[in-house]
């Protein structure tokens, strides 16, 4: 059935661990019983996978009958899929089998610690991630689970998060494996795009295609980088010793059988697709060899049991990477044997290290010794594990090393390298043997230090490591265990891409590998015998140097670079602006290749022959001159008026175009703008404004020169850009004729500009009114916030309708009765004009924007003439939240109505014709009309928010006004 069941079992286990805490079951059940119960999840997985083994083994190379796929994003060809073949099966069995032992062991390791439910939950999550990784059926699924293992292992390593070193170790592991993960993702995507599918089935069968592609080296390098960081290959190996600050069960699980093997799995998985090239061979062989030697050498310098084991793991991982690099049958035989052997003995040894730590309170070799009498069972397990690690017969580790030695003497490499590899393997073998000896002798033999108490662990705790240790003994001792050989052969075949014969016979005659093995063992024994002298010598060589230094240097380098970059943030806003403007100008010049000087040298004569050209020239001059006046005029109010004049000149140009719709909006907005600016100006204290003005007009010569140069430069660039754009534009528009021809038939509008705004580009317009509404709300919120900061009263509800308030204009000035009656008359008039514009907008000038700004202008007039209180009291409908919301909602509803009629959103509809309503000529009840209404309402809403916020007097003014209002008229 479905493979995904396997994951669900472990996830359910993790959930159960969580429930243990949430349901307060810790009073009824101990953590040990919980842990034993949870061991059922991987146990069941193990049995389930074992049940599939015959089927998988029978299938042979290059296929799997066990697949499960769930269409996830079918449009992108992404599936959540799982796939089971020999290689996945081997890893799946290792993960679940050792998982059971680890859970049993954990129950006793954390005995009595009820908070360990967290550890159990992480552990099961990690297990699920790891199973998902090896069972993944495509690259994306693999990547997701790959990252999941990084994160769950981070949680496990940082389990003792109060411990500084645990946090640092976890962080370093995450940083390195996470960085590798990013590279891996890029590599996987490359492979996927080359092979045309993310499925293993396809990728594994398109090896020739992938290897032939130009991007092959890049894809390979990225994937290998991901695998190397995960599998702790030098120099990325530094995270593994740091991760030893994890609780020992996690180390035994993650750093022996599972997580560090993920990279090995990945490389083995990709071998049929990416392997068998020179690049593959040299990259993997050299990195593997370097790692093997680094681990073997550094391990000998360690005093901490777990660190020693970590380094020997690094060394073994190097061996495995080296093996994958060789494209020979025997190498893959050695690989699978090595993976199984290493998983067995290393998990046993880690658990032994945990027992020693647990029972004696230390894992330091210098403080241990002579405890073998006290802990006979643990000692025996350690002995078996260490012998296997040393590669001595009759243990499984011997087989692994034997096949490894056979590999490197295989005549597929240049003869010199053959010798180098052989020498390296023999050296590493000797060093590993010495490490194993050091482990057993240092911890269990010799003189027992004073005050070291030790006693045997509870039986289940040592039984857990006993299982793999005994298995390691049995596999090689039993006569030819065919089923295991078959499983290993199947796994090797999946990785190799062709059939592999695996025999597990110990004695194969007097061969070269055996001779090499003897050399390695003798050398190792020598090192072990002189271990103290050798170790002292080693300690004195570069005692301070570790790769960690380089890592720390890198990190602090990043910090320093960040600091330097931050230094450029000096807080002088105008300098930021200058930099931005200059950069933008230069970018325009150099990237756009705009000629700056040429157009002016071959300047065409001023052409004023066109119609109304003189008027245009006049308007342009006025616009520029008025803009210039905003600089020269000292008083802010005058500058604002000059700005308005400049805007009105632009409106003049719009009239000359002729563009009546736009000109109307421009004029009204310009007037509104004056109101808004003046309202804002009155809120800034006069003394403050005077000071700012003083600074502005007494600027230092140097900075003034800078500003002038910048501004002039920007002006010249913009002139050149505009000239280039205007002279190179086509004189025949592509779009406009379309709008002209289709405005009437498609939208029923004669006003083409209105048709574009409300129909052709209706969606844009809708977004634009949303932006405007948001700006209004933004102003409102900001100013309310400012008022609160300034200590104003928070809520200001309008005065009740009946209360007579005196009308006071801007700044509390009295306004004349004449002007007040004009203002009273203007509002209804403006509303009528607005309505006319709306209704007839499609046939004549005007549209929703015009209507909206006309109504707003009249209201703004009220704010100026009557003041805030009276306006709010008399215009109760003028409430921004309701107006804005209603406008936007109406626009949205109107746009969605066509959906009900199975037409695309924003389709034009003629409601009048649909409902059979007859209207006067020139009026049509269309969806465009509703949209124009919505635009008008939301524009009024936005402006009302702005006016409400800016026109809202500050409290000191308010008090003054209220005070004035209390005085009855006539006094």
């Amino acid at each position: 059935m479905t493979l995904v069941i396997v994951l669900i079992a472990c996830l359910a286990g993790a959930l159960l661990a969580l429930l243990f805490k949430l349901g307060s079951f810790e009073r009824k059940f101990s953590i040990t019983s919980l842990s034993l119960f949870l061991a059922l999840a991987p146990g069941w997985t193990f049995i389930w996978l074992l049940g599939r083994a015959p089927q998988v083994i029978a299938t042979g190379v290059g296929g799997s009958q066990l697949e499960w796929s769930f269409a996830w994003l079918p449009s992108l060809g992404l599936n959540l899929s799982f796939y089971l073949d020999g290689l996945s099966l081997l890893f799946g069995l290792l993960i679940s089998g050792i998982g059971v032992l680890i859970l049993v062991y954990t129950g006793y390791y954390f005995k009595g610690d009820a908070s360990a439910w967290r550890f159990l939950a992480y552990l099961l999550l990690f297990m699920a991630a790891m199973l998902g990784l090896v069972l993944a059926g495509d690259t994306i699924t693999l990547f997701i689970f790959w990252e999941a293992t990084s994160i769950t292992s981070f949680l496990l390593v940082a389990y003792k998060y109060k411990d500084e070193s645990a946090r640092q170790g976890a962080f370093r592991a995450l940083l390195i494996t996470g960085g590798g993960g990013i590279a891996l993702l890029a590599g996987l995507l490359l492979v996927q795009s080359i092979a045309g599918s993310s499925q293993w089935r396809v990728i594994l069968n398109s090896g020739a295609l992938i290897r032939g592609n130009d991007l092959y080296p890049l894809a390979l390098a990225l994937i290998a980088f991901g695998a190397f960081t995960k599998s702790a290959q030098a120099p990325a190996h530094i995270w593994l010793p740091g991760a030893m600050s994890a609780p020992t069960p996690a180390s035994a699980f993650l750093h022996s059988a599972t997580m560090v093997k993920a990279g090995i799995y990945l490389l083995a998985r990709f071998n049929p697709a990416l392997g068998n090239t020179d690049l593959w061979f040299w990259m993997l062989s050299l990195v593997g060899m370097l790692t093997m030697l680094t681990g073997a050498y550094l391990g000998l310098k360690q005093n901490d049991l777990k660190a020693l084991l970590a380094y020997s793991t690094i060394s073994q991982l190097g061996v495995m990477v080296m093996l994958i690099g060789q494209d020979t049958e025997i190498a893959f035989k050695a690989l699978v044997v090595g993976i199984l052997a290493h998983a067995l003995y290393k998990s046993a040894l880690f658990m032994v290290a945990g027992i020693i730590d647990h029972e004696t309170g230390t894992r330091d070799l210098r403080q241990l010794g002579g405890i073998w009498r006290a802990m006979p069972a643990t000692f025996s397990i350690a002995l078996v594990g260490a012998l296997s690690m040393a590669g001595l017969p009759p243990l499984f580790g011997f087989l692994a090393k034997e096949t490894l030695l056979a590999t490197v003497t295989h005549p597929s490499v240049p003869i010199v390298w053959d010798w180098i590899f052989t020498l390296a393997v023999v050296t590493a073998g000797a060093l590993l043997l010495a490490q194993s000896g050091l482990l057993v002798a240092g911890a269990f033999l010799g003189k027992r230090p004073e005050g070291l108490s030790a006693h045997e662990a509870p039986a289940p705790m040592w039984l857990a490591p006993a299982v793999p240790a005994v298995a390691s003994l049995l596999i090689s001792a039993l006569p030819e265990p065919a089923s295991i050989a078959g499983l290993l052969a199947s796994a090797a075949a999946s990785a190799f891409g062709a059939k592999v014969k695996v025999s597990l016979a110990l004695w194969t005659g007097l061969t070269v590998p055996l001779l090499l093995s003897i050399v390695a063992v003798s050398l190792g024994s020598l090192i072990f015998y002189f271990r103290n002298r050798v170790r002292n010598r080693l300690m004195s060589i570069l005692p301070d140097f570790t790769f960690n230094r380089a890592y720390q240097g890198l990190l602090s380098g990043v910090d320093r670079a960040a600091y330097l970059v931050t230094r450029t943030q000096h807080g002088r806003l105008r300098s930021y602006l200058s930099v931005m403007i200059s950069a933008l100008g230069l970018l325009l010049l150099f990237l756009g290749r705009i000629p700056v000087v040429a157009p002016f040298i071959q300047a065409p004569r001023l052409d004023l022959s066109g119609e109304l050209a003189v008027l245009r020239l006049f308007s342009l001059l006025l616009a520029v001159a008025a803009a210039l006046a905003t600089i020269l005029l000292h008083r802010d109010l005058f500058a604002i008026l000059a700005l308005s004049a400049s805007g009105l000149s632009i409106a003049m140009l719009l009239i000359l175009e002729p563009a009546p719709d736009v000109a109307m909006v421009q004029i009204i907005v310009d007037l509104l703008l004056v109101v808004i600016l003046v309202l804002a100006l009155t809120r800034i204290p006069r003394e403050q404004r005077d000071r700012a003005r003083y600074y502005t007009f007494h600027q230092g010569g140097l900075s003034l020169a800078r500003d002038i140069i910048l501004a002039a430069g920007a002006g010249i660039v913009m002139t050149a850009v505009t000239y280039q754009a205007l002279t190179s534009r086509p004189r025949q528009s592509i779009l406009t004729p379309y709008y002209f021809e289709n405005a009437l038939p498609l939208t029923g509008a004669k006003d083409v500009v209105g048709a574009i705004v409300a129909d052709f580009r209706g969606f844009d317009t809708m977004i634009e009114i949303s932006v405007f509404a948001m700006a209004g709300i933004g102003v409102y919120t900001l100013l309310r916030y400012a008022s609160r900061k300034a200590g104003d009263r928070d809520e200001r509800s309008p005065a009740p309708a009946g209360q007579a308030l005196k009308s006071l204009g801007i700044g509390g000035l009295n306004t004349s009765p004449f002007i007040r009656s004009v203002a009273s008359a203007v509002l209804p008039l403006a509303l009528v004009i607005s309505a006319t514009h709306l209704l007839l907008g499609h046939m004549q000038p005007g549209d929703g924007f015009t209507a909206g700004v006309i109504a707003s202008l009249a209201v703004a007039f009220w704010y100026v003439i009557f003041g805030y209180d009276v306006t709010r009291q008399r215009l109760r409908w003028f409430k921004s939240p309701y107006l804005t919301g209603a406008g936007l909602l109406l626009a949205l509803l109107n746009a969605s109505v066509p959906l009900l009629l199975a037409q695309p959103i924003f389709s034009p509809l003629d409601y009048g014709a649909m409902l059979g309503i007859s209207l006067p000529a020139g009026m049509k009840l269309t969806s465009a009309l509703v949209f124009e209404l919505a635009i008008a309402i939301s524009v009024v809403g936005g402006v009302s928010a702005i006016l409400d916020a800016l026109g809202h007097p500050k409290d000191d003014d308010v008090d003054a006004i209220r005070h004035l209002q209390e005085i009855p008229p006539g006094e």
Partner: protein
């Protein structure tokens, strides 16, 4: 005419940028609006042809003005008003918070 429009756009840009660089933040707001006017002017001048009558479908044989840039300017005008109001409220907040409207004294954005 193209050259005239280009020079006018460039001049308004220069004035706008000079104003934006003032220490007085009120002048910077004015500068921003001049810049937005300059952009509208550019849009206006970028019409493919010059018309004689407004852009209506009325069967007239005279050339109508280019409707597309006009539609662009129409929305741009209203939005720039909203943007300006937002900037003004920011200026007011600065004045409340720093008790000054001098760009060089507003320095809390520093590292």
């Amino acid at each position: 005419m193209d050259l005239l429009f280009s020079i006018a756009v460039g001049a308004m840009f220069a004035i706008g940028i000079f104003q934006v660089l003032r220490r007085n933040v009120i002048r910077s707001v004015i500068g921003l609006f001049i810049l937005s006017n300059a952009v509208n002017l550019f849009l206006l001048s970028s019409g493919a042809y010059q018309g004689v009558v407004a852009a209506y479908v009325n069967g007239s044989s005279l050339t109508a003005s280019d409707a597309l840039p006009q539609a662009l300017i129409l929305t741009a005008i209203v939005i720039s008003m909203g943007g300006l109001a937002l900037v003004l409220s920011l200026v007011y907040i600065l004045s409340v918070r720093y008790k000054i409207s001098d760009a060089d004294k507003i320095k809390k954005l520093r590292y």
